[in-house]
Symmetry: C2
Subunit: 92 residues, 2 copies
């Protein structure tokens, strides 16, 4: 599971499945869904596996993750990590 | 739980507790920890409650979240949502 995913394959897969809630650029379109843009690949992969194995429960995500292969999980994680983010802390 | 949190109070709380893994600006310092910068407040609050109630299991987070009050959860969620992020999708 440590193998690097293919962000291009992940991009294609995300466009059809994930983008409706997590946005085309990884900024979520639903307030209850997390932004995934620039998220750590190791974290995203671990969460997708947890959803797939139902170790982490969330209705839509358990359905979405169920058919995913380890390769597809790696590709999706690589895709979201490939989106460049900047973070600017508000003034005191 | 819908009440808006206080990002300044959340910033102070995060500095002492969360920043060691999630970074001073919400960009994680540990590969296994998620970035929280600009994350949706509703999502962060829901996850902190899930960790507190042990509906979502992760060793460090269950320990960290256990003593948090609903107000502190709201403040932390407001703080991370107050960090401005940009997301740039890589070229095709």
């Amino acid at each position: 599971q440590g193998q690097e995913g293919d962000p291009r394959a992940g991009r294609r897969l995300a466009a059809g499945v994930c983008s409706s809630c997590h946005g085309q650029n990884g900024i979520a379109t639903l307030p209850g869904a997390p932004n995934l843009a620039g998220q750590n690949a190791a974290y995203v992969a671990a969460q997708l596996r947890a959803y797939r194995e139902k170790e982490r429960l969330q209705e839509q995500m358990n359905i979405v993750a169920e058919p995913l292969t380890d390769k597809q999980i790696g590709d999706l994680a690589a895709w979201y990590a490939a989106i460049t983010i900047t973070a600017t802390v508000p003034g005191r």
